[in-house]
């Protein structure tokens, strides 16, 4: 990678990241994320009433559902806004490859989530104060949670490359994230299997492997499984690749 490539990516990243800080989006989303991520364990999971101090079942378990709604809210402006303002014409006639722009933007949105997730540190501090938790599952839980956020974000990124409307992008991305989360749910899989003919059962089971959920739970258990990390990384690579194709076909 040439120095120039890196500089271009950094320039796009910087612009995009500052744009988050200059708009209310970042503050609203981070605050809502913190309210949800910190509130749910206390009010619904009753974290204080339990005997043990593990976070997996009470804290991380909520994250996929929070990301399903909030990650598209962060990512929806990435390309839709460029299409709407017409600035995509400026950006793509500058000496920058589409990949540099895609990565710069994606990392900027990823940083927003890094900030959000870092600010949940008081809950770790709380369980450390109350007991003596095993740090392994907490660390791998955070990694799983962040990877899940990035996967939702990359899906949103691909959708936003297609539409110029942020609202459409948001709704479609949320729908995608819900579907990808639910296909691995044992209840859902069971229902579908019982309605389809027997030869299709294998197909349903195969599709359910692609759910984010199984891989997420495996990781939060504290066993750092390389396979699951690789799964999330490949989801991100594939969706960013789709983003590139979508941008290319938009200006074909």
């Amino acid at each position: 990678m040439r120095k120039r490539d890196l500089q271009n990516t950094v320039a796009v990243f910087k612009r995009e990241f500052l744009a988050y800080f200059n708009s209310p989006v970042l503050y609203v989303i981070v605050v809502i994320f913190l309210l949800a991520a910190m509130g749910f364990p206390f009010f619904f999971s009753r974290i204080l009433d339990s005997e043990d101090v593990a976070l997996t079942e009470r804290f991380f378990v909520w994250h996929p559902w929070i990301y399903t709604v909030l990650a598209p809210a962060v990512g929806m402006r990435l390309w839709s806004e460029e299409h709407r303002l017409g600035t995509i014409e400026l950006l793509l006639t500058m000496p920058v490859s589409p990949w540099q722009a895609i990565l710069g933007k994606f990392f900027a949105a990823a940083c927003v989530w890094l900030i959000g997730l870092t600010l949940t540190f008081p809950i770790v501090w709380t369980v450390c104060y109350l007991g003596n938790p095993d740090m392994g599952p907490i660390i791998s839980g955070y990694i799983a949670s962040y990877l899940y956020a990035l996967a939702c974000l990359s899906v949103t990124c691909a959708v936003s490359a297609i539409t110029r409307s942020q609202v459409v992008c948001f709704i479609v991305s949320v729908a995608f994230c819900i579907v990808i989360a639910l296909i691995g749910d044992p209840g859902v899989t069971h229902t579908i299997v019982s309605t389809v003919p027997s030869w299709a059962e294998g197909v349903v089971r195969f599709v359910s492997y692609f759910s984010f959920m199984d891989h997420f739970y495996e990781l939060t258990k504290g066993i750092f499984v390389f396979r699951d990390v690789l799964y999330f990384l490949s989801v991100i690579v594939v969706t960013l690749f789709i983003t590139n194709q979508a941008l290319r076909s938009k200006r074909a």
């Binding site: 500089q7 017409g86 793509l92 500058m94 200006r251």
Partner: protein, 246 residues
């Protein structure tokens, strides 16, 4: 410096640009004329590397746009139609971003920003947010962006659209001055502008070049025509006239 050969662009079944070839040398200002929807913007978008042509070749300063887009784009400044800007930035930070994208960093970046702020009379709005600017300022900010790296090739899509008469005069003067050591293409609907700023003009109608020459030569194309206006109207028949004839 700009070489365009047999450019064709097809959208679905519609042929937007139909076999256009032209070249622009250093020191030339080429005016792009034509009725709305004639294919001016589409041609410019292909020359700037935004659209991929269906067939044909484009080279800027000898660099092929299709084979080596990043190097070719480095030689190019582009002002898109309607002057799009990132609305969440200030004028100076927007220009700073554009300078970085062009590979200008540190002191070079600061110098480039100051130079274009001065050239485009933007000094008094340098820290103002882009979305609070009036149309004239927005246009000039986007124009400043296109010349921030002092490119050899400049492509301007309706650079005087929406400006007041004073600003139009300034922009025309700027184009003419810069045209002395650059290759410039600009599109316009205003025919006096062509006579004021261009050394050559091309008239495009329904995707084809219908006339190419100096403004004076174009005037002689149609016998008895006194102005470019009349020439323009007689060679590019309007849609309604075509319907009447049919």
């Amino acid at each position: 410096m700009i070489q365009v050969k047999n450019l064709i662009k097809v959208f679905g079944t519609k042929v937007a640009v139909d076999d256009i070839s032209f070249s622009v040398e250093k020191g030339e200002v080429l005016g792009f004329l034509g009725p709305n929807g004639a294919g001016k913007s589409t041609t410019m978008r292909m020359v700037t590397g935004y659209f991929r042509p269906s067939s044909g070749s484009i080279s800027l300063c000898g660099i092929d746009m299709l084979e080596n887009p990043e190097d070719a784009k480095q030689r190019l400044g582009y002002l898109p139609e309607n002057a799009p800007l990132y609305s969440d930035m200030t004028v100076a930070s927007f220009l700073g971003f554009c300078a970085e994208m062009r590979g200008l960093h540190g002191a070079d970046r600061t110098k480039a920003i100051d130079r274009v702020l001065d050239m485009c009379f933007l000094d008094n709005v340098r820290n103002q947010s882009v979305d609070t600017l009036s149309k004239g300022y927005r246009h000039r900010t986007c124009f400043a962006q296109s010349i921030i790296h002092d490119p050899d090739v400049l492509i301007l899509d309706e650079p005087t659209d929406g400006l007041d008469p004073n600003q139009k005069h300034e922009v025309r003067g700027m184009i003419k001055r810069m045209g002395q050591n650059k290759a410039i293409i600009f599109s316009t609907h205003i025919l006096e502008e062509v006579e004021a700023a261009c050394s050559r003009a091309i008239i495009i109608d329904r995707g084809k070049v219908v006339a190419d020459g100096t403004p004076d030569k174009l005037k002689k194309l149609v016998p008895g025509a006194n102005s470019l206006d009349e020439v323009f109207r007689s060679i590019t028949k309007s849609e309604t006239a075509l319907k009447k004839a049919a």
